[in-house]
Symmetry: D2
Subunit: 145 residues, 4 copies
Amino acid sequence: MEIVPLRPDIEQRVRASFGRQKLLALYGAGITGIGKGYFEVSLPPSELVLRPAGFFVGGVIAGVADAVAGYTAATVPVEDPYFVTVEFKINFLNPAQGELLIVRGNVIKHGMSLTIVQVDVYTTAGGQETHAAIALVTMMRINKK
Amino acid sequence: MEIVPLRPDIEQRVRASFGRQKLLALYGAGITGIGKGYFEVSLPPSELVLRPAGFFVGGVIAGVADAVAGYTAATVPVEDPYFVTVEFKINFLNPAQGELLIVRGNVIKHGMSLTIVQVDVYTTAGGQETHAAIALVTMMRINKK
Amino acid sequence: MEIVPLRPDIEQRVRASFGRQKLLALYGAGITGIGKGYFEVSLPPSELVLRPAGFFVGGVIAGVADAVAGYTAATVPVEDPYFVTVEFKINFLNPAQGELLIVRGNVIKHGMSLTIVQVDVYTTAGGQETHAAIALVTMMRINKK
Amino acid sequence: MEIVPLRPDIEQRVRASFGRQKLLALYGAGITGIGKGYFEVSLPPSELVLRPAGFFVGGVIAGVADAVAGYTAATVPVEDPYFVTVEFKINFLNPAQGELLIVRGNVIKHGMSLTIVQVDVYTTAGGQETHAAIALVTMMRINKK
């Protein structure tokens, strides 16, 4: 899938919002892709995010996937986009072990009030990607005022 | 629902496993209830787990709920219980704001290989509980050997 | 849980809507409980809804659960209640075999635009109920005009 | 995605199993695609499967998607494949209205005991497909003996 560039003001707003998220910073997560309806984050393994057996903690994957879903929804060009998660579902497909965890969000439906985001989680090891998890996330746009 | 006391060796094993989870410690989460097929964790608001607007981060709630589901499954008296999350679904019901986040797991089906856990998340404010989220979690027992 | 009686005009509207659903009639499903935020349907086993092995077809259970979620949402006293299903999740807990399939919907959150319904599915055999499935359903209220 | 032909004996077994499902026949559903890890069904609109407003009933879509997930899992070449649905999640993306409902299942993970199937539902109108729904289904292989 080709990534459509974001309007610069939206990209700046999404990146600034990402920068305020303390937990993602703590995880060592960084933005590795951004476009219209697309957002990607990568994070390295660390003591904080791994189970003792060396796998990424499921709750960390779920938490990052939820955050990525929110930023993905926010790449859609609407005025005053403030989204909350209505519900979230994730299937863990393969053991999440490797050099990097890559979390990719794609908008699959952008509606008036609801936006549905698919999030695919991969691990990389030796140049090969493994599909670690897939999530479907329903976001609702809120009028902050 | 009445809480059925756990066999002491199982309780000790579950508590020790909880103690090894760095992320939950970082969140300030502590065990506030444990029984056969039941596990409860509480955590206070803190800069790390709140959105700027003062609500608990959805990804933190999801992560803690996933962890609680795992410990809940582990309270069932089986030999060598090592569970992985197959899939996880959460609905956010009300804004998660208050003095405490309480996350309660109940086993609703304990099968040969699969265990289904319902997790209810509450916030307390002024002595009143609000139902913040509900999750259904499918866990699979793995033979470690 | 005690059932709160419905306003008669709402009950009449919900029952009339149920009567127009051809598929539920075909399944032999009938209303066996109705109240504010509560709706219950029961159906007998028949060739149409059973697998050859004698279990209720999962897709039938899911379909009835979805329909029950809609009627449950419609018992909430709002003007012009027209709901569509945003998403639907069901866990099958036990083999669905018995003399009757009972499908119970309860509103767990009634919001401005979204209503969350929990649906519990039971089978009865020899006077005993077995928890066959549990579903969480997100409904959205639509302005028909 | 290219469709990989099925081993003839497996294809015959899957088609025979489909032929025994009374409900799908009643819906007018027919097989329109089959391959290794792939199964597709199409059905026309009819009084039985439409809401009065002309949309395919959500419960019918969910039921067909669940059935398709089962047949998709059964296209994987294992001995004695008997699958039950562990859990099922579907998001409705767009109003399901058109000349045909097309339901496509793809295996996204085939494990020792669990198989995860993604099901995409489309409607066609005037030669154009609309993404009506997406589902994730967890199936478990059962030893019948």
